[in-house]
């Protein structure tokens, strides 16, 4: 089971002087259970790409299949199926807290459930579960106004509103934009948990290559509406020249480790791909020890 984009192209305002090709022949398959990051400079088409995943945009050419179901079908019978398929893809927009509107947090999270015709018992049940997933205490927060919360908390409410619909695939556009370091870390941890514990497939756009490097198992690099690279972070990020062409910079940790290597610390190619500062520190220690041993041995030989 997977989301498949088959040769999709998308043109904004076709036939006008403002016509713009935002996507050009993108073919991409996102397997269930994956943790996929989409990277690209502003205007690379990554947001347009995201909006195809749950049918908010219909490709100008090509098709989008979710678990084998075409999202923009012709016949009536297929349309019902397509609707269900769209609903299995949850979408969290950039600055998602800007979509909140209800008087209480409970009601805002319940909005989608009510639209999908859940009964009250189920609404209650699912709001509880999704609030737990984003670490908001149900009793404390259910009756509060979402507008009294901090930015990070508001974003959690918005995320809960999408999680309540129990999406199999969760799409997030810049989920940590504008948050402070703690808010960022907490939210990324929550997304990581959703992937690990709930088995939700995560597809996210991020500007932060270090976040991508740490979390994702697949990276897709976009440039001017085309897919430039895709693969595991270990495959993609060492291609620094291609990454630079896409207007991106490699992860800070990787750049730093490369510089340390150039300064004479014998790090291996694998060491350079350390994903966390912890791993990096261990790699550096190992490398330093090896220089010591080597020199030590040479010293012994000389004697």
């Amino acid at each position: 089971m997977a989301i498949e984009l088959q040769d999709i192209s998308y043109t904004y305002m076709p036939g006008t002087p403002y016509e713009r090709k935002a996507l050009k022949h993108v073919t991409l398959s996102i397997e269930e259970g994956g943790f996929v990051a989409i990277a690209g400079h502003t205007g690379s088409g990554k947001s347009t790409l995201l909006q195809h995943l749950n049918g908010l945009l219909t490709p100008t050419s090509g098709q989008v299949l979710v678990d084998g179901v075409n999202l923009s079908p012709k016949g009536k019978a297929e349309k019902a199926k397509a609707l269900a398929a769209r609903r299995s893809v949850g979408m969290v927009f950039q600055y998602a807290e800007h979509q909140l509107f209800e008087e209480t947090i409970f009601e805002d999270i319940a909005f989608g459930l009510r639209n999908f015709g859940c009964d009250e018992a189920e609404v209650d049940e699912r709001v509880r579960t999704s609030m737990a997933l984003v670490h908001l205490d149900f009793e404390t927060y259910r009756d509060r106004s979402p507008f009294q919360l901090s930015g990070g908390q508001m974003r959690r409410v918005a995320l809960a509103g999408v999680l309540a619909l129990q999406p199999k695939y969760l799409v997030l556009d810049e989920p940590t934009a504008g948050l402070d370091p703690k808010g960022r870390k907490d939210l990324l941890a929550t997304i990581g948990e959703l992937h690990r514990k709930e088995g939700t497939t995560i597809i996210f756009v991020s500007h932060n290559m270090d976040d991508i490097f740490q979390l994702a198992d697949t990276v897709v690099v976009m440039r001017q509406g085309e897919m430039l690279l895709s693969g595991s972070p270990a495959e993609v990020f060492p291609q620094t020249e291609t990454i630079a062409k896409a207007g991106l910079r490699p992860p800070q940790l990787m750049t730093l480790l490369t510089r340390i290597q150039e300064a004479g610390v014998p790090l291996t190619a694998d060491d350079l791909l350390s994903r966390t500062p912890e791993q990096a520190a261990r790699a550096i220690e190992r490398a330093l020890k090896s220089t010591q041993n080597q020199k030590g041995r040479r010293g012994n030989d000389a004697q």
Binding site: T42, G43, G152, P181, L256, V265, T291, Q292, K295, G299
Partner: protein, 290 residues
């Protein structure tokens, strides 16, 4: 006399009401002309409230805020204070007024009644300083976030301000945009000797400053050079803040018994120290402690 002087400054929002909120408590500090000061703090630490006092956009509930000797409470001097201190706010979309880039840069001097010819030359210069001359006739909504913020900087420069206050001006930008802004800020500080007050929650940006002030729940928590402040990694983390990657890595290595100097702040520091450690190891193997 210092350019900015705060004496036991406190600010309370909605004083006396049900939702009373104390944002700043007894903050005293002074900033000299020509300094580059970064202000750190997690959400709700009061750093934005502090910034708005520097431009007389908020007035102290108690205590005093003086800009170049002028008390911000003095209504007659508000306009002079705002000519001295320019602000760049967080949201790039909500601080550009005109529908064309150069008109926006001209907005400040127009308000000050500067003669048209001089406005033109100030606008041209400000745009060239921030490297946006090419985009002078663009509509703001066609620019990237970093470009919009550079226009906002140009708008403040055109008023010939001595001090620029950045109120989380990079929070909504992508890494390229952040790098653009930081480069402009450094250049303004170095070449034009502007006083910079730079509020941020990105530690790498704060490391570029001469001095870092840390706020916590409206109180002054730390004040020192980046080296001094980042040496207290544990304390910073307790305040919900990070340390730069190089500081974190240095601290981890040191904790594991690798002999590194305390004063590692920038990536250059770390690279140099490790290069030396590897070199030393080669010569005598004495650099590795046990």
């Amino acid at each position: 006399m210092a350019l900015i002087e705060l004496d036991r400054l406190s600010h309370v929002y909605h004083a006396g009401e049900e939702n009373e909120h104390r944002a700043l408590t007894d903050v005293s500090l002074s900033i000299e002309a020509g300094e580059f000061v970064a202000v750190l703090g997690s959400n709700g630490s009061g750093k934005s409230t502090l910034a708005k006092h520097l431009d007389a956009l908020l007035l102290p509930t108690s205590g005093v805020c003086r800009i170049d000797g002028m008390d911000t409470q003095n209504v007659d001097q508000v306009w002079r204070i705002r000519q001295k201190v320019g602000m760049v706010f967080q949201n790039p979309d909500n601080q550009l007024i005109a529908a064309i880039v150069e008109d926006d840069v001209a907005f400040g001097p127009e308000n000050l009644g500067v003669p048209p010819k001089e406005i033109r030359s100030r606008v041209d210069e400000a745009l060239s300083v921030v490297g946006m001359t090419k985009f002078r006739s663009f509509a703001p909504h066609l620019l990237s976030g970093g470009q919009k913020q550079r226009i906002a900087i140009a708008g403040a420069l055109a008023m010939q301000t001595e001090c620029l206050v950045f109120d989380e001006a990079t929070a909504m930008l992508d890494p390229e945009g952040r790098a653009e802004i930081l480069a402009v800020v450094r250049q303004l500080h170095k070449e034009q000797h502007k006083t910079i007050v730079y509020i941020t929650h990105f530690m790498e940006e704060a490391a570029a400053a001469d001095r870092i002030i840390v706020l916590d729940h409206g109180k002054l928590a730390m004040d020192g050079t980046p080296r001094e402040v980042f040496a207290k990694a544990d304390e910073l983390q307790k305040l919900g803040l990070d340390v730069p990657l190089s500081v974190e890595l240095g601290a981890r290595l040191r904790a594991d018994g690798i002999d590194l100097p305390q004063a590692i702040v920038t990536e250059d520091d770390l690279v140099q120290a490790l290069g030396a450690a590897a070199g030393h190891a080669g010569k005598g193997g004495a650099a590795l402690g046990d």
